[in-house]
């Protein structure tokens, strides 16, 4: 079994579990399938020899963000009566919107695949920590720092929300 | 007021110092205390193999004594029932008829004598109250049971069998009262 068949199996599993996210009726199960999807995506990263990104993907997405998702979902009252009833019109609109999104994604990924093929072939050690760090702090230092500003904005927003609530209590 | 034990501490809400606030010295102190216990002698008694030696005046299961000739001492005066703080003792008195002199020492005897062991607090006041040296607490333990009924001890289990006398000679109240 070579790496390519492995990659195909992994990709199939990823897509399969991603489909299950949409198909499963229970939101908690959806979240769990999403976690599984993240695992398979990490598997794909490992196949591309990007171990660092694979680990960080699991720590950040599966370990932190999805836990918060699960938190919220578990505290919701998820009974059959509370489910919103969708009319045929809404379903049709959702279908159209989804179709359009799908088309856009295909269009975007078609170009993206070409670029990816061009970059990945350069070296298979690009995903290792040293190379990634080098790239992040030299070539991509500006986007990297800007994204940290984005995080600070989010944190300030969270603190602000917390503070305001306290004033209301006083 | 002066404290009697010299261990009184005045509680206050004073601000803690830095060392107190990081708690680590207190934690290490506590851990040192538990560590010292590692080397202490343990207090466990491995029960079925080793049994605790009970003092002769241990207040365990009651016995209704017989005298030297095998007659029941109890005269059903009811003083034990009056003395009982837990009201565990019930009795019905009966008159001795002719031909029963070898069974009961006095002319009146207890036809029914019950102690509810679930009520009994084993204080020993019945033993103290008894003018006839009839009831004694012994160093036997009350066996556990599954049924509540089983804890009501009647005369069948309280009166000592003639052939298996229960030794109470070491108890405080024996021999104090003279022969009546």
């Amino acid at each position: 079994m070579n790496l390519e068949t492995f990659a195909i199996i992994m990709g199939g599993l990823t897509i399969g579990s991603a489909l299950m996210v949409i198909i499963s009726k229970n939101p908690v199960k959806s979240v769990l399938f999403l976690v599984l999807t993240f695992f398979f995506i990490s598997g794909n990263y490992i196949l591309m020899n990007a171990q660092f990104i694979a680990a960080v993907n699991i720590i950040v997405y599966a370990g932190a963000i999805m836990v918060l998702f699960l938190f919220v979902l578990m505290l919701l009252n998820l009974s059959k009566e509370n489910e919103p009833k969708n009319s045929v019109f809404v379903k049709f609109a959702a279908l159209v919107a989804g179709g359009i999104l799908f088309t856009v994604l295909i269009a975007a990924l078609k170009d993206g695949l070409v670029i990816a093929a061009a970059t990945v072939d350069q070296s298979d050690t690009i995903g290792l920590v040293e190379n990634l760090g080098q790239l992040l702090f030299t070539k991509y230092v500006l986007p990297f720092e800007i994204s940290s500003v984005l995080f600070i904005a989010a944190m300030v927003g969270a603190v602000l929300l917390g503070k305001r609530e306290k004033q209301l209590i006083d | 007021m002066q404290s009697l034990s010299n261990r009184k501490k005045v509680v206050s809400n004073k601000k803690m110092t830095f060392l107190e606030r990081i708690y680590l010295p207190a934690i290490f102190g506590g851990m040192w205390i538990t560590f010292k216990h590692l080397f202490r002698k343990n207090n466990t008694l491995k029960y079925p193999e080793e049994q605790r030696v009970l003092v002769p005046i241990y207040r365990g299961l009651h016995v209704l004594k017989r005298d030297e000739q095998g007659r029941e001492n109890c005269t059903a005066c009811g003083l034990c029932a009056v003395a009982c703080p837990a009201e565990a003792i019930t009795m019905v008195a009966a008159e001795r008829v002719k031909g029963e002199e070898n069974l009961y020492r006095e002319e009146k005897y207890a036809e029914l004598y019950e102690i509810d062991m679930l009520r009994c607090i084993f204080c020993g006041l019945c033993e103290e109250a008894c003018p006839k040296e009839a009831i004694f607490l012994t160093d036997r333990l009350l066996p556990a049971n599954f049924e509540r009924d089983e804890f009501i001890y009647g005369k069948d289990r309280l009166v000592e069998p003639i052939d298996q006398r229960i030794d109470i000679s070491k108890r405080q109240h024996t021999g104090k009262r003279t022969e009546l």
Partner: protein, 343 residues
């Protein structure tokens, strides 16, 4: 990869699996014994000499109990919960280097399942996944108290992961590598990280207590007051898995603490030995350190009272994380100074 290598790895994995489970089983015995010693008692001594068969008796009891699933519970998730808890705590053992290479009949055998170059991230990843076992178990029980407990447990674990991660980062900064092997190698002899990073060690240790849900941070479970927290509805071996996974993760976190801060399989005067002797002494050193930390875990449990939940959050967010951040900053400045950035 050759076939012999695969077989060798499989054997080693099986061995490690057995050792981990065995140690976890005997950790339950040891816990009861240690508790007894601290309380001037004897502890379990009925099953076999000194009670050493007690874990078998406990396991047998758990196996033969009725495997009960509540009617309103989500069946599959109910089964999945303890499985995930056990899986995640076992998986972290995969990247731990137990000693230097050993040579048997001309073959060099690594005493590590996988030498991943991001070993420490692997461990952090599986640690963060460990929350799911508890959350799923608590939610699938369809019991509001289990759910509350699951939420308590997971918010505690998420909060303490942060400070733990920052402490790991300081160690990684010191070593310059994410590989556990390199981290251990950099602490050759007595050059242990704990002498450079005592603050990080204390923070990491406190976080490890919180991550394994052990006293004084065992409020998700509260064995003595609440009826077991998130595994209230569990019985038989499924509950056994939860209890067991706690001991497995206690073993693994003790191993990680000894690797990150106490030099792993390094020991003083190790330069006098080489080859297999060194490897075997390394294994002994590693296990000694691990067992010492397991003992300390138990020692703390039987000494300190439990935190209240607000105190727990206060400690995690307002004390440990700022302290860990300041520690990281100072470490960074010192490293930069040593590398001559300020000249």
């Amino acid at each position: 990869m050759e076939t012999s290598e695969i077989i060798e790895k499989l054997l080693f994995i099986g061995l490690l699996f057995l050792i981990t489970l065995g140690i976890a089983a005997y950790a339950t015995y040891l816990e009861r014994k240690v508790a007894a010693w601290f309380q001037d008692r004897i502890g379990p001594d009925r099953a076999g000499p000194f009670g050493i068969l007690q874990p078998l008796a406990d396991g047998g009891k758990l196996f033969f109990k009725e495997d009960f699933i509540p009617a309103a519970a989500d069946k599959w998730l109910f089964i999945l919960g303890p499985g995930i808890a056990m899986f995640t705590s076992m998986m972290t053992g995969a990247v731990i280097p137990w000693s230097s290479d050993i040579e048997i009949a001309g073959n060099t055998i690594e005493l590590q399942v996988a030498d991943v170059n991001i070993g420490i991230l692997f461990i952090m990843g599986f640690l963060s996944i460990g929350v799911y076992g508890i959350m799923i178990g608590g939610w699938a029980s369809n019991n509001k108290f289990s759910l509350f407990s699951a939420i308590r447990a997971s918010s505690q674990m998420i909060s303490y992961e942060l400070a733990m991660g920052i402490c790991v980062i300081t160690i990684v900064m010191l070593t310059g590598s994410l590989s556990l092997n390199k981290i251990v190698e950099s602490q050759h002899g007595m050059n242990w990280n704990v002498f450079y990073q005592p603050v990080a060690f204390i923070i990491f240790f406190i976080c490890a207590l919180a991550e394994t849900n052990r006293a004084p941070f065992d409020l998700p479970e509260c064995e003595s007051e609440l009826i077991g927290g998130y595994h209230t509805e569990y019985g038989a071996m499924k509950m056994g898995f939860y209890l067991f996974s706690e001991y497995v993760s206690m073993f693994i976190s003790s191993a990680i603490i000894s690797i990150l801060f106490f030099g792993g399989f390094n020991f003083p005067w190790m330069d006098h030995f080489n080859g297999n002797t060194l490897a075997i002494l390394g294994v002994i050193a590693m296990f000694t350190k691990t067992f010492i930390f397991m003992f300390v875990f138990m020692w703390i449990r039987w000494t300190l009272p439990r935190f209240r939940f607000d105190q727990l959050m206060h400690l995690g967010w307002k004390s440990l994380i700022p302290m860990a951040l300041i520690n990281m900053l100072i470490t960074g400045i010192v490293i930069a100074f040593n590398e001559g950035w300020f000249n």
